[in-house]
């Protein structure tokens, strides 16, 4: 009884997590590809989930369409294109790089090096500052020593 319960606990969350379609794939690689594709296509009915995570009727039709296109040996690019042509760029969770999205994709590549340069500059400045301080704290220059002597007289 306990064993059965444990087994049930093992199985059930998986069945809750995602809608189940009975698509069969000959190779594991194909199944992985299918899973990857449906994870990056938006459900146009519910908009804030992927077609992988949606139980909507239309999402099911879309998963079916992905499966069909895979069976027709369509490339990932062609499959994504099929959706973009109909529903627009927003249907993809990862927008394609083109003339309108290069800034979106490229900005991190620009900002990260810029940040590193800024950080290095800051550190260098702090270091030279620290050196200055150590000089003034430690040994006095000749003129300073002279002034000190005069003051302490």
């Amino acid at each position: 009884m306990l064993r059965l319960l444990l087994l049930l606990m093992l199985v059930m969350p998986a069945s809750w997590a995602a809608p189940i379609d009975s698509f069969s794939f000959e190779e594991q690689q194909q199944e992985d590809r299918y899973k990857r594709l449906i994870e990056e296509i938006r459900c146009v009915k519910c908009q804030n989930t992927t077609i992988a995570g949606s139980n909507a009727d239309l999402a099911r039709d879309h998963r079916m369409k992905v499966y069909e296109m895979m069976k027709q040996n369509k490339s990932d690019r062609e499959i994504r294109e099929w959706f973009v042509v109909r529903y627009g760029d927003f249907v993809l969770y990862r927008p394609q790089v083109d003339s309108r999205t290069w800034l979106l994709w490229g900005l991190p590549l620009l900002l990260v090096p810029a940040g590193i340069v800024l950080l290095m500059m800051q550190m260098r400045r702090r270091r030279t500052h620290a050196v200055d301080e150590s000089v003034s704290e430690g040994e006095l220059s000749e003129s300073e020593q002279k002034r000190l002597d005069e003051v302490l007289k």
Partner: protein, 208 residues
């Protein structure tokens, strides 16, 4: 001077961020599906069995040569029921042919082919032709995201407008002036008339 500008910079950035977030609060987070990439393009190829007349078809070829409306509906869709009266009124005017795609009317969606036939029988049939798209074949080509949905088609079979939701509360959005007009039947007909005046072509932005 240098220290002063350094003190202002963070305040400026925070203010900018605040403005950004504040505007974001009032933006519609939902993607406006009326701005479909299908608009301005030729209506997709499709070929459906006629719902009412056995052996006949409703296909892309039916949409050539005149300004028309294509309405997507289903019996499981309450807004379609609300919209039906508007369609009947529109059809009674006899100014624009209305075609329809009976979309996903199958048991798994909560409808059926028989229910669809009965619907038109009891409530009246405003459509010149109705295609039976129970398996969402044409629906995927037309990029239908839900019912009801209405397309305005020009004489060359091009999609001029796409309207998601019932015709009751929103009129066909006018691309030059996206105003929502209550008198939707009149608005649609006015648009059809304007299209006829310009050779039956779409009145959309720019060249289309």
């Amino acid at each position: 001077m240098a220290t002063r500008s350094r003190a202002i910079l963070p305040i400026f950035l925070v203010a900018l961020l605040f403005i950004l977030l504040y505007t974001g609060l009032y933006l519609n987070p939902r993607h406006e599906s009326d701005d479909s990439p299908m608009i301005g393009k030729s209506a997709p190829e499709f070929d459906l069995p006629d719902l009412l007349r056995a052996g006949e078809r409703f296909s892309r070829a039916d949409l050539n040569g005149e300004v028309s409306l294509v309405n997507v509906w289903a019996t499981w869709c309450p807004s379609c029921r609300a919209e039906h009266d508007v369609l009947m009124r529109l059809a009674a005017r006899g100014e624009v042919p209305i075609y329809s795609i009976n979309w996903k009317d199958r048991e798994e969606s909560g409808g059926s082919r028989e229910a669809a036939i009965q619907w038109l029988d009891i409530l009246g049939n405003p459509y010149n032709k109705t295609g039976d798209d129970g398996d969402n074949v044409a629906g995927l080509e037309w990029a239908v995201t839900g019912a009801p949905e209405t397309f305005l088609i020009d004489t060359e079979g091009r999609i001029c407008n796409r309207l998601t939701g019932p015709l009751n509360d929103v009129a066909m959005p006018n691309p030059e002036n996206r105003q929502e007009v209550q008198n939707n039947v009149g608005n649609i007909l006015e648009r059809v008339r304007k299209m006829r005046e310009s050779d039956g072509k779409c009145l959309t932005k720019g060249e289309v």
